[in-house]
Symmetry: none
Subunit: 139 residues, 4 copies
DNA sequence: GTGGTCTAGACCACA
DNA sequence: GTGGTCTAGACCACG
């Protein structure tokens, strides 16, 4: 099972699950159309309350990563950008600023940060989205 | 004033202050021995509750970034790495993985991610490596 | 109080609340910066569980209609388009198709639909968003 | 075949079928007395569970849109308005208010909303008013 | 069986 | 006081 959770982490459980799924999809370990485990099944596996799993799925649905159908289950959605590019960039930059500031406080230097970034980016290996579909359509 | 706060940010106010100070210290804008403003003074400037400032200072003290002397104020402490480097790198990579996966789902491509990374890194106006090790805290 | 709920409606309670707030903001009855009632207070007024109100607020936050800050409350956000225009149009059209088909089944004719649309649109009176900020930036 | 279903839509399958039939009847593509396909036949064509088709037919029968004769099949019924017109208009307006408020939050302007409305209305290929009142159900 | 909604109540984090 | 997370368990809607 790809989806794991660390109950001792300060990060909310449902948030961990959300990130887990996003990561799995982004790296190709889960593909569009794949069925996720059912809410109850996953809750049993992860030893959390079904509501917690349901909330994670709701978030994923809302962000367009998955879609759920009553009676059949939850599935990985086709990638379809819904956010404006400028909004996406804004959120990315905000998160990155915080992350790098934190990394600095943990004693990492620019070299470490570059290296980590390259490794992390490589994991997405990018072909699925079409390599370079540039869109300069933002204001 | 180096210390700024964005009340509309989702990040807790005290946390913003903590990061702000850490950043200032890490980049050399504040140096060991420097005196921070008093809780009340800073609270007035930032228009926040003094409790919020006090909590930030308490956290900074606890993390060894500053030290407080009753009656005289709060000062920047000598730098001492609290985390082992590999642990820092591990956390950095984990956070970055989640962030980049998210960026992908938001419709960003590798070009966007690199660009944002470069900009974000530049904003740290990174201290030349080695400088942070110097001991001549001239003031 | 602007916010009302009909417990006998088949529409989920939290969804009714979400629509209520969106409507109030869209028509100018609530304005950016306005504070919404607290989760507990609103739950008491509407005679629903606080979790139900909290969920509505989470949805509103996620859609950028409001923002919440622990310790201070939930506020109407500045209007800031986050969705791609094509995605917004797609969802609008889908909802409208269903609505019109339903109206047809209820015995309304084209004249009724036009009239209702004009009245409904008039309630937004539109000045707040700048009348005609055209954006042809979608593909 | 007039009846289509989109399995990736959030709308329940049986509900889609119901609306489909209602729409076909309302626009004259199916006329009173017309025979609908059998449950099993339709289920095969649409690749859905026969239970789903049966439920749709049951709803249609209950709403008076169709009537079923054991052993011979399901037929389109004579039109008879089930709701008072003002009640229909009231519901239409209420739904439209919510929809337009939502559209506004999604960044659409009045121009977009009008355009979408016109397109959506056109798709109903509206029957000329009065035609739906005719009694000569020739077949 | 599946997901969705709601309630009740506990506990935590923030100002 | 505020909002946020999680659990437990009930009930409904769908296939």
């Amino acid at each position: 099972m790809i989806l794991r959770i660390d109950p001792s982490s300060p990060e909310p459980l449902f948030q961990q699950l959300v990130n887990c799924v996003k990561s799995a999809v982004a790296t190709g370990r889960m593909r569009p159309g794949d069925k996720l485990p059912s809410v109850r099944e996953l809750a049993r596996e992860l030893v959390v309350n079904p509501n917690t799993v349901a909330r994670a799925f709701q978030v994923l649905d809302a962000e367009g990563v998955t879609y759920s159908r009553r009676g059949s289950g939850t599935f990985v959605a086709e990638p379809r950008p819904t956010l404006r590019k400028d909004e996406g960039l804004r959120r990315y930059r905000a998160a990155l600023d915080a992350l790098l500031a934190d990394a600095l406080h943990m004693g990492l230097d620019a070299h470490d940060m570059w290296g980590g970034f390259e490794e992390s980016l490589a994991e997405l290996h990018f072909p699925p989205r079409g390599e370079e579909e540039r869109e300069d359509d933002d204001e």
